[in-house]
Symmetry: C2
């Protein structure tokens, strides 16, 4: 899917990338948040003061949530389905000069997989209530992991 | 690809999942480590004392590394290509009872995307020398991000 931004900002750069075809993903559920457009989304999720969002896991994978209540924090991977995938240099508002995609966490990247650490507020069956997400409502869910010890 | 383990351990459980076809990935490079089989791999990467490994980015994406030297730590996403994708309950050696896939960080998961925080030792062109990986040599690379502030 194409990015709503058709034009590059000054200094930004894209490549002619071959069609992605090396591996396939299956969506395992979806994320519900208060935000319906990318412009509304916060820049970073806030696991402390952010609004409670829903991580809705498809019934097929329900058993994979066994024991999840043990964790105060989880890592959520999701698919930024609106992001273009050919950008190599980006000009974020906060930086004076174009910066490489891999030096940033912007959604526009070759494989638009987002990773967020969230606080688990409550489990309701196959639905997790969490704080700390920053994506739009309806975002496809890819994975849930126990949060990496650091 | 199938897991070398053909049999489930007691208490483990798999589901009949449809073929994954919701989104496609492109590999952007590969990872070279000292380990050639899964059994040799450490359980967790160690960004301090772990061996230096190579993250080799395909030339197409070289410009996306611009500014990466600014970061002491990076988040690496990679594809655990040997892991089976249908397991919902796992019996890790360290736990007495079967635990849900999403409560763990095991490679066997619906979308076998691994996420590691690594220390950046040195950049050599399109190759990053890093500490903190735990995967086998030849693992496909999916993404590099600046490490999330926590």
């Amino acid at each position: 899917m194409s990015d709503p931004r058709d034009d590059l900002r000054p200094g930004e750069s894209a490549v002619e990338a071959p069609a992605p075809s090396d591996a396939v993903l299956r969506f395992i559920g979806r994320i519900e948040t208060p935000w319906t457009t990318r412009n509304e989304c916060p820049h970073h999720g806030d696991p402390v003061a952010g609004p409670v969002c829903k991580v809705i896991v498809d019934d097929l994978w329900g058993d994979a949530l066994t024991g999840i209540e043990r964790h105060s924090h989880l890592q959520i991977l999701y698919w930024m389905f609106q992001a273009r995938r050919d950008l190599v240099l980006l000009s974020p508002r906060a930086r004076p000069e174009p910066t490489g995609t891999f030096s940033l966490r912007a959604p526009t990247r070759p494989n638009p997989i987002a990773s967020s650490i969230v606080a688990l507020v409550e489990r309701q069956g196959s639905v997790l209530l969490v704080r700390g997400l920053d994506c739009i409502a309806g975002t496809p869910l890819l994975d849930i992991k126990s949060s990496q010890a650091k």
